[in-house]
């Protein structure tokens, strides 16, 4: 259950006068459940990309349990992310043509030559946990709610200490969104993972321990 420490972080994009993200100080305790909110374009996705090592910060420090991922090379960030982070995105990013089970196992399959012992059983367990019964169903035939639940199972297959979701409920109807929100919260707790969720969804945000509101790339208020 890693903890996050952010110091003097600044991200600029070419063509933008002001930094897309400027965070002087932010800490997330290990095992915390943090929400990120704010208007569109306020920098939520940018921050998510930074804390997952998908993008590198231009300036500042972004350390998970003392590991400053802003300093890691691209390859090492990839490896660090594979070992520590589970990701759930708004539009699923499942691989069409493969079954639900194969999608859950795909990150493991691609990162090593053979599946580690027990991976298959873990995939089955996770799929059962998120309520997917037909594990061999091709993902392109699943409903949107089901797709997001498969994505949640995939995020947890490598037993990550950090679970990050960017608008996990935004493309789902209220009911499916509520199911996914519950699953994220419960599974993060079960896995004892630190959870960071960027969202506009008040019903999801109100269930988190703490919510950080971003505006124009800066932290405006912290609530929860």
């Amino acid at each position: 259950m890693p903890a996050l420490a952010v110091e003097a972080l600044e991200v600029r994009f070419p063509g933008l006068a002001t930094p897309a993200l400027a965070i002087a100080h932010l800490t997330v305790e290990s095992g915390a459940r943090l929400g990120l909110t704010g208007p569109s374009g306020s920098g939520k996705t940018t921050l998510v990309n930074l804390v997952t090592g998908l993008e590198r910060a231009g300036r500042g420090r972004l350390a998970w349990d003392g590991t400053d991922i802003a300093r890691l090379s691209e390859g090492r960030r990839d490896r660090w992310r594979a070992a520590n982070v589970g990701l759930v995105m708004q539009d699923f990013h499942l691989f069409d043509g493969l079954s639900a089970r194969d999608n859950v196992l795909l990150p493991l399959r691609l990162s090593r030559l053979s599946l580690p012992a027990g991976a298959g059983a873990e995939a089955d367990r996770l799929l059962a946990r998120v309520g997917i019964e037909r594990r061999d169903q091709k993902v392109e035939t699943l409903s949107r709610g089901q797709k997001q639940r498969v994505a949640v199972a995939r995020a947890l297959i490598a037993r990550p200490g950090i679970l990050v979701a960017d608008e996990p409920t935004a493309s789902l109807d209220a009911e499916a969104g509520a199911t996914v929100a519950s699953l994220l919260l419960e599974l993060a707790t079960e896995a004892k993972a630190t959870l960071i969720v960027a969202s506009h969804d008040p019903r999801l945000l109100e269930r988190l321990d703490r919510v950080v509101r971003l505006e124009a790339g800066r932290i405006r208020e912290t609530g929860g």
Binding site: N49, E55, R79, M89, L98, P107, L110
Partner: protein, 431 residues
Amino acid sequence: MFRLVVADLRRNALGALAIVLIVAFAAALGVAVTLQERALRLGSARAATAFPLVVGAAGSETQLMLSAVFLQPAPLGLVPGRVLSSLAADPRVAWAAPVGFGDFVEDYPIVGTTQALVDGLGGLRDGRAFARLDEAVAGAAVALRPGDRFHPLHGQASTGGHMHGETTYEVVGRLAPTGTPWDRAVLVPVEAVWRTHGLEAHEDEAHEGEQHEGEQHEGEQHTDEAHASGAPGAAQAPDPQAAIDPARVTAAGAPGVPAIVVKPRSIADAYKLRQEWRTDTTLALFPAEVLTRLYATLGDARRVLSAVAIGAQALVAAAILLVILLHVGQRRRQIGALRAFGAPRPAVFAVVWMEGFALLGLGLLAGVGLGYGAARLIAARLEAQSGVALPVLFTRDDLTPLLVLAGATAVLAAVPALLAYRQSPAAALRG
């Protein structure tokens, strides 16, 4: 990883199939050109070596070779009878046989010759050789069976020759297959050809082949001249059913023939004979050598042909690269996503590379097969037309270009793989 590749290819099955087919056709073009060119070269060389030495009247070497080896109808000058008689008597000659053409049965050339050539071509498969002036031996690929009768036609049936109605031959035997144009020939006694064309004792007279079309009864006119002139050494036109008389053919006063096929006893003899019969009035040549020279002349055309094939392949390679790049562009999100969810960069490279290599490699393999099939098909059609056996075969020399091509495929597949490798996962997730 393979599952992913297979799933992705299956998802784009039609596009993948199109790529495989395009690559296959491009590769097939090159393979077919190479194989067909080789088949023609080997096949005609084999046909040419069947006759070690050919003697004809002074004129074009190429034309003499084409007429004697490939039975191409053309007006050739005649070699006087004494040449054959002297060759037949030469101790350095294993056998020498006259070759006289001009007539056809359907589209098969009728060749007037002697027993020596029947044996020289490899003998008979069934029946017997001609013993009378009205008997014939059919080549292996001729649609005539022993017992069949035919009238010779002056000029090919397909180009509207006229019938020598007064002459009838009966097929009495069939030659064993030789894999040369002679498989399509019908052999008759050379005296019978002389008789039909009234060439009983004419020397140094142009014997025009099928060029006769449209002209009226040239043969009959010859007959009249022959009878009228009563040239020395000429016998009266014999009874069509008379027995053949080999001595008459090799007599010094015998009529001329367009070409004489000679089998020398040794290579040294062959060179000496060629030397001796290269005179002001006669021409002696090794058909294989003339053919080689002809090929050397055509070498440039051959190079142009393979350059065209290579150019077509390069264009296809470029087009394929474009298609693959677009395809990867469409999949950027998905491929980038793989990395965001924990796939290492080399795995992303490997997946895209394997997909590209599988498509191109499959196309290449199919193309080699397709090209081989096409070359076989073309060869079969040409064989049926010309009688020349065209061996379509791969040689060890083909291995290098094929390996180079496979290497190029691997490199080509690496281009989109590298792009995917460099694809930022964050940008990919934004879509």
